[in-house]
């Protein structure tokens, strides 16, 4: 196990170095991407301003709590975007269709992990600085007394959120093993994460249940953020851990099933 983890970090280190060399050759692109992130945050701030000009709370949450939830969701998405998103999307867009998956399937390392980390975008990590800043600002301004125990469980759940989001992203692209071209699926998580940007009680009950169980995207952001602002619930923590392991198992099982259907460039 330790040997595998060491191997993972060695490979990841090489891929990060390659990504750094690649990114440093396109400073204009990196700059524009960072501006894009800042623009997105600015637009969302205007949007929330409009919302809260008309209501004091949104599903019981004040402006700064909703802002925290939004920046936390962005943080999860940016982290994923920086490390694994492009690799995962490449599986759906090109690796399988063009037969490039051979390269990863034949390496003495887990192919699901290897393809996921194959194309890191280090410049996306820059966005995390703005998002963490916004999270700290909104947590301080929320007017809610946040204790040490809240912060501890929040960080604990944050780690599981990142892992769960990764597994959900993997599950969404697995159909690409059966369908010739499935680029639209790479947009699926971008859309689904929109559900996580608002307090879950905004949505009708059937949607809330579906998005907490069948495809638990709400769990990814809402559970950790509620744990930060309100007394931690044991049920939330246990559920988060169980659901992460369950979807991890599902992702791995479906990946192996998909791999059996892979027949190189002809697939």
């Amino acid at each position: 196990m330790i040997k595998t983890i060491k191997k993972f970090f060695r490979i990841n280190n090489i891929l990060f170095k390659n990504a750094y060399i690649r990114d440093s050759k396109i400073p204009g692109f990196v700059f524009t991407s960072v501006i894009n992130q800042l623009l997105d945050i600015s637009i969302s701030l205007i949007f929330f301003d409009i919302i809260f000009a008309n209501t004091k709370t949104l599903a019981g949450w004040n402006f700064y709590q909703v802002l925290f939830l939004y920046s936390f969701t962005k943080f999860i998405a940016s982290f994923h975007s920086a490390w694994t998103k492009k690799g995962i999307n490449s599986v759906a867009r090109e690796y399988i269709r063009l037969g490039d998956y051979d390269f990863y399937a034949t390496k003495p390392f887990d192919s699901m992990t290897l393809t996921s980390i194959s194309k890191p975008r280090l410049y996306s990590f820059i966005a995390l600085i703005f998002e963490i800043g916004l999270m700290i600002y909104s947590a301080v301004r929320s007017g809610i007394n946040i204790g040490f125990i809240n912060i501890f469980w929040f960080i604990f759940l944050l780690i599981f959120s990142l892992i769960l989001f990764y597994f959900l992203s993997i599950i969404t692209i697995i159909p690409a093993f059966w369908v010739t071209k499935l680029t639209a699926i790479t947009d699926f998580m971008n859309r689904m994460i929109q559900f996580a940007k608002y307090p879950s009680r905004v949505f009708p009950i059937f949607l809330r249940i579906s998005l907490s169980t069948i495809f638990p995207i709400i769990v990814v952001a809402y559970f950790p953020v509620e744990t930060l602002f309100y007394p931690p619930k044991v049920g939330y923590i246990v559920y988060m851990v169980l659901v992460t392991f369950f979807f991890g198992w599902i992702a791995r099982f479906l990946w192996r099933l998909g791999e059996k259907n892979y027949s190189s460039a002809s697939s």
């Binding site: 894009n36 949007f47 499935l182 639209a184 608002y198 905004v202």
Partner: protein
């Protein structure tokens, strides 16, 4: 003319090649509407509001319903001129007896026509699921809405072509195209009605041409504009389209002199 017709039909056929991919994208596209639907219902209810800047809840939900349809006509992902220049595939079209601009526009129209047509049943499903909150327009308003959307569609193509032609001089423009389109769509009122913007911010947004892509057509759909205002908008869109197109031609003509056909 016949060659362009053949080209257009081929583009349409090309779009039908990957059906699963396409059907999935239709489903994904409905998510934005249902989130906005749930969100604004709660805002009106919790704030005990009847109107936000002349928009009732019904108007607001209708706004997002029409927005979800107009997003099908958003062209940024359907123009490939920049990619062709950057990759060198541009040479294939350059040596053929046709206008690069015309086939770029035909590519876009073909793809968008197909996407838009197949979205009609999806929008019917959305309408049925939220019909209590969606208003349908009177026939004259609907016709003027269609004309406005078509004019705005060409304005958006002309705007995008400028950035694609910049690839000749500045290389890959993907990130810039994404950035400018994202900004343009925000300024257009695709995220919320521009009428919701407070004070000077609202005035600035309304001075820009981008409002004609989402906000103005939907105001027409909702019957919030009189014929005089509508005709003025049409004139404004046509003028902006000509301006954008002229800028594109200048950038293109200067840029093509730098093209070496080698790609990246």
């Amino acid at each position: 003319m016949k060659k362009y017709w053949t080209y257009f039909i081929t583009t349409l056929k090309l779009n039908t090649a990957y059906k699963a991919d396409f059907l999935l994208s239709l489903f994904i596209d409905t998510i934005f509407f249902f989130i906005s639907f749930a969100l604004w219902k709660v805002i009106y209810k919790e704030g005990s509001i009847d109107m936000i800047s002349s928009y009732s809840l019904r108007d607001t939900i209708t706004y997002f319903f029409v927005t979800s349809i107009l997003f099908r006509l958003e062209v940024s992902g359907s123009i490939y001129l920049g990619w062709q220049i950057w990759s060198g595939y541009f040479t294939n079209d350059l040596i053929k007896p046709w206008s690069i601009t015309v086939i770029s526009i035909l590519d876009t129209i073909g793809e968008k026509f197909f996407v838009f047509s197949l979205y009609i049943p999806v929008s019917v499903v959305i309408y049925i699921s939220a019909h209590d909150y969606i208003s349908l327009p009177q026939l004259p308003n609907f016709l003027m809405f269609v004309i406005t959307v078509m004019l705005a569609f060409f304005m958006l193509i002309a705007f995008n072509l400028i950035f694609h032609a910049m690839t000749f001089r500045f290389g890959d423009q993907d990130a810039n195209i994404e950035l400018f389109n994202y900004t343009a769509l925000f300024l257009a009122g695709s995220f919320f009605p521009l009428a919701f913007l407070p004070g000077n911010l609202g005035v600035i947004f309304r001075l820009l041409p981008f409002k004609n892509i989402f906000f103005v057509p939907i105001e027409i759909f909702l019957g919030k504009m009189n014929p005089d205002q509508i005709y003025r908008s049409w004139f404004e869109i046509i003028v902006w389209t000509i301006i954008f197109y002229c800028i594109y031609r200048i950038v293109y003509k200067k840029g093509i002199r730098l093209y070496t056909g080698t790609g990246r």
